[in-house]
Amino acid sequence: MSILTVDHLEKIYEGKVAHKALDNINFSVEKGEFVGVMGPSGSGKTTLLNLIATIDRPTAGEILINGKNPHVLNRKETALFRRHELGFVFQHFNLLDTLTVEENIVLPLTLDGESIKEMDKKLQYVTKKLGIDSILKKRTYEISGGQMQRTAIARSIIHKPSLILADEPTGNLDSKASKDVMETITAINKEDQATVLMVTHDPFAASYCHRVIFIKDGQLYNEIYRGENRQAFFQKIMDMLALLGGDNRDLSTVRL
């Protein structure tokens, strides 16, 4: 069964000038897949993620996560849904700066009222895996960008959600930290069978995905699969981006 199904999704922003951000988006993600969404600025990728994450409401269409449509739930059920089924890794980390690293990570479990023992067990497991068990007691302004992002990742997986949503996870990081983060996400995806949907404009980050969906001006444009080699996939992504950004009459630069 697909973990995520997006069916005829549409989002129009009302106002003095109405703006159609997403137009007839259809795709699905299977369990254990690592899917990337790419597109130029203003293409609607963040809007798409916001809709899936229940942060915003679609104007038309349906989203099914694990067979359930989160947008028809009442407020309490939505909150529980977020707590149990979704995990978030966002560009600006969205950590609470009044809490330490470990407190940030266990936040979803705290809200669920889990026992301290259970929380500790899961915390140990997750932080060891991500290599941040040494900074648990530190505050968020005392750690580096890469560590902050790994904290966010830890928070997003500690409650074993069905779907992990990532919005530009490498956006604020240098190349080494980016590599660390992408390898971490790949590891979680492989070892824990965690399904990941990642929005990015960084081709390096996208090359870690199993497949990448391209969006232009709110509409699906193309989709390419990884195959065996990550470097070749990286090149294919670059070519697709060049096509997206340039004129249709440009010759493709696919190397023979």
């Binding site: 529980l80 979704l86 809490l99 705290t110």
Partner: protein, 634 residues
């Protein structure tokens, strides 16, 4: 961690954000507690004069409580607004509405309880100081510091209830429909303020009419006009801020020559924006400041009543004997002895009062008899008292009303005496007080000397007056003869005596007490007004930072930034104060109708001190705000 642990840590580690809210709550608690200490102080409870003081303080206590409620509610709602993004994150992680409510409730209770503890603690420390000042003011000698458990309990319980209710309220204030609104709350640009010309004109009319009514009020009309004027002023001020000021600034914007000149473009456009946004805050600051000014100003103006004392008592000690008993000689001798013992130089005179029978009068209530005094005797009293008056001697049946108080509303009355049905028409009053009301107890007449000789009295009494230079010196004289400086006629007390010195002391004490209470209330209100400004400023700090960052990228010197910020702060700080000044000025004009002497000096002192306080506040805040802004700019 557990949920309560989470809430607790969230609060404790966010001290910067909560600091202002915590401090203002603690301050409210402290003032309330100090007042309660006064009210429950065992030493203050004794003393008849202080019953009024206790009543006043209790009333002030209630006012303070209601005000604290509104004030804390306002500061809490300001803080909630600035935390929308944080709430978005929490809800994104699956916090239910119920958990959010619980969190907000717990936070408020934690802060509230800490504020109560801090406020009471501060109150205990400064309580001694207040008691010292208070006892000086009341003139009671040093009040020892008495720890009243009643005061403590009252404060703690009252504020626990307050914070509990507010915590419940605030959960209703957090509105969550779409999470994206919470995230974008700080980033979304604010809508352009819209203006209704009709409401602008309405506000102008309301204000002008209230000013006119206040300025032309007399003592009689004041009571009727007071409530409508207050209502009109409040409504007019509200629309003034939400409508008229935006309208005016928009007019400014149309004038390109002015608008597009140097930094004006930034200042004026931010103004138009801010005015609508801050209209409600301006409105509250103005009303609260006006209340503070009026409270203190009204009480300060009563000082004038003290100055008028001299005019109300021609003789510093008056003694009216109702018959001819020898006891009067004794009493008068005693007064003289006491005056001599105190080495107070004095003069003494005696005049005769004839009580004549009245057949009828045009007054609502016809007395059986009224006291009459001859014009020559009136002149004698006036001269001894040192009053200068150039009144023509009376002839025939012309009479003057015998003035018994500095300001009196006498009416034109015609008396018909039983004796020969003589008609006496009273249509003017003497310029000076002849006999104080406290001595004569009724109105009377001054008649021409010839008529006086002809009148046959039903009763004759002797009025003795002792005249000294300073009325304060006579305080305490004749203590054995009168308690509290006044007396009523009884069988073993066949005389009426008034010692103006003692009366003056009494009035001064009352006045000082009321002034003390008013000052405290005025200070609290004024500080609250300042806090409103502070909250507003710091709630918008994030937005302002981004705003100025954008402009600096275009190219803005430090001096220009200072100029823009200063101009805006000037308006934010002083527009409400000036409007409050104007409101108060008209209120005082109405108040002046109560007094003969001018209250201008007192009013000016009060308003000037508030202005100075506001200016100091302005400079302090401006310095800190600019420093804060520049931290993010390069």
């Amino acid at each position: 961690m557990t949920f309560p642990q989470f809430v607790y840590r969230n609060v404790v580690r966010n001290k910067r954000t909560y600091a202002a809210h915590f401090l203002s709550s603690a301050f409210s608690v402290m003032i309330f507690f100090v007042y309660a200490l006064f009210i429950f102080h065992p030493d203050i409870k004794k003393g008849v004069a202080n019953v009024l003081a206790i009543q006043l303080m209790t009333a002030a206590e209630v006012i303070m409580y209601v005000f604290s409620f509104l004030f804390v509610l306002y500061s809490v709602s300001t803080f909630l607004k600035s935390r929308k993004r944080e709430f978005g994150i929490l809800m994104m992680h699956g916090m239910t509405r119920g958990q959010l409510n619980k969190m907000v409730f717990l936070e408020n209770m934690i802060i509230g309880i800490s504020a109560i503890v801090a406020g009471i603690g501060l109150g205990l420390i400064t309580g001694k100081l207040f008691l010292m000042i208070g006892s000086q003011v009341v003139g009671m000698g040093d009040l020892p510091f008495y720890f009243s458990t009643k005061a403590l309990l009252l404060t703690a319980i009252a504020f626990l209830i307050l914070f509990f209710c507010i915590s419940l309220f605030t959960t209703a204030l957090v509105r969550v429909n779409k999470l994206i609104d919470l995230f974008q709350a700080g980033v979304k640009p604010k809508k352009e303020p819209k203006v209704s010309v009709l409401l602008s004109i309405l506000s102008a009319i309301l204000l002008l009419v209230s000013y006119y009514l206040a300025a032309t009020a007399t003592m009689q009309t004041l009571v009727f006009r007071m409530l409508p004027v207050i209502a009109m002023t409040v409504i007019g001020t509200y629309f003034f801020y939400t409508q008229l000021s935006v309208f005016l600034v928009k007019l400014l914007q149309r004038n390109r020559g002015l608008f597009w000149k140097k930094t004006n473009i930034v200042t004026i456009s931010s103004l138009a924006y801010r005015l609508k946004d801050n209209a409600r805050m301006f409105f509250m600051v103005t009303i609260v400041s006006t209340v503070a000014f009026c409270a203190v100003g009204t009480l300060a103006s009563m000082n004038v009543m003290n100055k008028q004392f001299d005019k109300a008592f021609p003789a510093e000690i008056s003694y009216r004997a109702v018959d001819d008993q020898p006891i009067h000689q004794q009493n008068l001798k005693q007064i003289e002895t006491e005056l001599k013992a105190k080495e107070i130089p004095y003069t003494m005179n005696q005049v005769q009062l004839k009580f004549v029978a009245i057949a009828s009068s045009t007054d609502r209530y016809t007395p059986e008899k009224i006291p009459v005094i001859s014009f020559a005797d009136y002149k004698k009293i006036a001269k001894a008292a040192g009053y200068k008056s150039i009144e023509k001697p009376l002839v025939g049946t012309n009479v003057l009303e015998m003035r018994t108080a500095s300001f009196s509303n006498w009416e034109e009355i015609t008396y018909t005496l039983k004796q020969d049905q003589i008609k006496l028409a009273q249509n003017k009053s003497t310029k000076n007080v002849v006999v104080p009301m406290q001595v004569i107890f009724q109105s009377g007449l001054v008649v021409s000397d010839e008529l006086y000789a002809k009148l046959t009295p039903v009763d004759t009494q002797t009025l003795t007056g002792f005249y000294t230079k300073n009325l304060e010196d006579t305080a305490g004289i004749g203590k054995g003869l009168v308690e509290d400086s006044q007396s009523t006629v009884t069988d073993d007390h066949p005389f009426v005596m008034a010692v103006s010195g003692t009366l003056y002391e009494y009035q001064m004490t009352m006045y000082k007490m009321m002034l003390f209470v008013a000052l405290l209330i005025g200070a609290v209100f004024f500080i609250a007004a300042g806090s409103f400004l502070y909250f507003r400023l710091y709630a918008d700090l994030d937005y302002d930072r981004r705003h100025y960052l954008t402009i600096t990228k275009v190219g803005l010197t430090d001096r220009e930034l200072n100029k823009i910020v200063t101009q805006q702060l000037l308006l934010l700080f002083f527009v409400p104060i000036i409007v409050a000044f104007v409101h108060s000025a008209f209120a005082f004009m109405a108040l002046q109708s109560f007094y003969q002497l001018s209250i201008a000096k007192e009013i000016v002192v009060v308003l000037a001190s508030f202005l100075v306080a506001q200016m100091i506040y302005f400079f302090v805040i401006r310095y800190r705000y600019l420093r804060n802004l520049k931290k993010t700019l390069i």
